[in-house]
């Protein structure tokens, strides 16, 4: 028993270490190929990334990334590829901003209301894909991509002066949220950290608890591991597809909240986009593990932060994108390699232990 756990731990650490080392080697080679010194680049990144303003920036950037990764991971655990987190969080944030801008209530009601609206809209948007999959057998990858485009068009239509938005200089945005709807901040130097990081951490805990400690989570994971076994065990697979899409969409609804409630206080044409796709990369990198994804989100933030600094040092600006891509690829491959190796190693070990037991009992029989 003990030795199995030890092996498990070694294997669990082996994959990320293998991936990061490989990624570093490949990235070094690429930087080297552009005629620059890779080690200097890493030094610059480390120095700049560890400055305190960088740390705040990284945490603030990582918060929505983490929420996005959680949303994607809910789908992954069930073998669904929710590629539409991007559209879901945007349309959710848009309607939450509209509702929040139209009401002036005490913060204790206003903020939860905005968050609930966002979660509900995200859930509905993702739920459409779930329903299409179960009733019409539409692949969720196709439908969520389409829904991304539809969502963008809907926002584009409504986000116009005279419809649901107002004009301020060159920007068009929804009315500002009242002051009561501003989320608290954690006062750090030189800039504050979004208070929403607390919500993100709670979401991570909830994700872990629901999946690994509840019946519902067990059913969900069962479907992800084997749909046929899940069906035979009594899980209503179709309902589970819709439920998990809805949950994934609700989680996606939170992605835009740190920005909406902590920075912009409105949804405008400059609202950040693409976080949903970043979430896919981070979920892959963190292997759907709540802690792993948190680390991955921070790593992503670190790379983006320090990437800008690399540009000043004369490195190609694309180098960070290349690094991110290489890391994700290495992680996916390394995990698969380690997983297969682990399974084989375990089978072999079990075989050997049983053979040893059998030999022992054979001997006992002979002597008896």
């Amino acid at each position: 028993m003990k030795t199995f756990d030890k092996n498990k731990l070694i294997l669990a650490v082996a994959a990320p270490v293998l991936a990061i080392v490989t990624a570093l080697v490949i990235t070094s080679a690429i930087i080297g190929a552009t005629g620059k010194d890779p080690f200097h680049a890493f030094q610059v990144m480390l120095d700049f990334g560890s400055k305190s303003d960088s740390q705040v920036w990284i945490i603030n950037k990582a918060t929505p990334y983490y929420l996005s990764a959680l949303a994607v991971a809910i789908g992954f655990r069930m073998n669904l590829f929710n590629i539409g987190v991007d559209g879901q969080y945007r349309i959710a944030a848009f309607f939450a901003a509209v509702v929040g801008g139209a009401l002036t209530l005490p913060g204790i009601i206003q903020i939860p209301l905005i968050i609930l609206v966002a979660m509900a809209v995200g859930a509905i948007w993702a739920g459409i894909a779930g329903l299409l999959k179960t009733t019409r057998n539409v692949n969720e990858v196709i439908s969520t991509i389409m829904l991304n485009a539809i969502g963008a068009s809907v926002i584009g239509y409504l986000l116009q002066d005279g419809r649901l938005a107002e004009k301020e200089g060159n920007l068009i945005h929804t009315p500002y949220l009242p002051d009561s709807a501003h989320f608290f901040e954690i006062p750090t130097q030189p800039k504050p950290v979004y208070g929403f990081v607390v919500i993100a951490a709670l979401a991570g805990v909830a994700y872990w608890y629901v999946l690994s400690r509840t019946r519902f989570g067990f059913d969900l994971r069962t479907v992800g591991r084997s749909e046929s076994a899940a069906q035979a065990s009594g899980v209503n697979v179709k309902r589970m597809v819709v439920t998990s899409m809805v949950l994934s969409g609700a989680m996606a609804g939170l992605v835009g909240m740190p920005t909406l409630l902590g920075v912009s206080y409105n949804y405008g044409t400059d609202f950040p986009t693409g976080i949903g796709f970043t979430g896919i990369a981070i979920a892959l990198l963190g292997r759907n593990n709540p802690v792993g994804m948190a680390l991955a989100a921070l790593l992503w933030g670190f790379l983006e932060r320090t990437g800008t600094q690399l540009e000043f040092e004369g490195y190609a600006q694309e180098i960070v994108g290349v690094m991110q891509g290489v890391i994700v690829l290495c992680v996916v491959i390394a995990y698969e390699v380690v997983r297969r190796y682990g399974l084989k190693a375990q089978q072999r070990k079990v075989g050997e232990e049983l053979a040893a037991q059998a030999r022992k009992s054979d001997k006992a029989e002979v002597s008896a």
């Binding site: 199995f4 069962t222 035979a232 009594g234 209503n236 375990q346």
Partner: protein, 534 residues
Amino acid sequence: MELAGITKRFPGVVANHDIHLTVRRGTVHALCGENGAGKSTLMKILYGMQKPDEGTITLDGEQVSLNSPADAISRGIGMVHQHFMLADNLTVLENVVLGAEKLHGIGNKARAKIKEISDAYGLGVRPDVLVEDLGVADRQRVEILKVLYRGARTLILDEPTAVLVPQEVDALFDNLRELKSEGLTVIFISHKLGEVLSVADDITVIRRGTTVGTAIPSETTPKQLAELMVGEELPSPETRESTVTDVPMLTVDGLHLSATDSDGVVRAVLDGISFTIHKGEVLGLAGVEGNGQAELVEAIMGMRRPDGGTVTLDGEDITQTPTRKRRESGIGYVPEDRHRHGLLLEAPLWENRILGHVTEKPNSKRGLLDLKAARNDTERIVREYDVRTPGIEVTAASLSGGNQQKLIVGREMSHEPKLLIAAHPTRGVDVGAQAQIWDQIREARREGLAVLLISADLDELIGLSDTLRVMFRGRLVADADPATITPEELGSAMTGAASGHLEHQEETPAEESAEAPGEENTTDNETPEGGDSK
């Protein structure tokens, strides 16, 4: 062909250990041993799919190393797998030339060659029919032809009779004799003694992964062979005293299910199925695979919605009840395909113990999993059902098939089922585990469990059942009394040749007199009950 000192360590199952095998050219050589004795592993080594850890293979006096099936084929060794590897939507011709296009092209030259081979060995293969229109026996002949087409002089047949009814087995044996007379070598893997004795020239017996002896059929009785195989007295599936009550537990009435096949044709896979299983009764369902048994099981489990008819469990109509409710109300399920329906292969054993019973004690309380209780109960199942494993944290995939099955049986029995659906409960299970599983079914039956037993092993079916039904093309066509019926009488109903109530004929009718194999199978049945594990 000679194999010497072959040793192979293989995850979870009996390792091949110091195997010696000599096969003479132009003979049918039977390799027999119980399920899980290591026959298939040995054949995979011979066919280049696995490399032995130790030992040598010698072909015609030349020591060879076979690294892949391609190597084996180029040396004239061909294999017919237990599970056919044919593309249903292609014709026989297309299936045969697939991957061997270089030999004779894909046109008339190939067709002529197929004809030639088919005629030479009396295989009766028609090159232009679609494979999906062929029966099991015909498909097998296509597989054999495929191997011959590639120039094989040595054929390995892995459990070729497992999917055939007794009459088809005879036809296959005629084909094998034909092959032999043309100078080909056949290696025939089986654990059915009667068959082995009737067709083989030489027999090698494997037990626990090693060769324990050779035999010449003319000088050996089935009993001697059986003892060589098992190393002890044979366990028997036979059930003695009847425990059948008159309280109906499961009543299926007029069940009808249509399915659309790949061509879009709607056909009835279950057609007016009606039967009742009482408390303490084992109802055995015989039938060639693919005649609706799997669909019937899935309909009773609630995994498929029938278009007509009712299912009543213990007085309660469950026709519309979802699967989980059915399981909670007392249906235990040992699925036919344990990898697809019974296990999460990459999950640890204790999670597999929860599977299917997540809402029940001890696995959860009020919506939350009770990991500690589930783990403890897994330990108990491992202990009581003798699941051979180093611990409960290992994945289900690392256990051998027999131990996986013991875990499933243990899990299903732990929830005091009223009805147990057991589809091929001992398929691919070694002999010790087989006896144990039979014991558990008998035990539970004594306590009033109703069992629906589906099995391709007719001895098991006849031995365990209180009532027998035969399923053919989605209908129950015949019933029989397991006390008197013989496997080949059952077999004729399985092919649709007989229907109604099957009466055992003391004087065997003329057309069935040639069937030696079944007769000897019944002899196995009469061996005293033993091997009941500790």
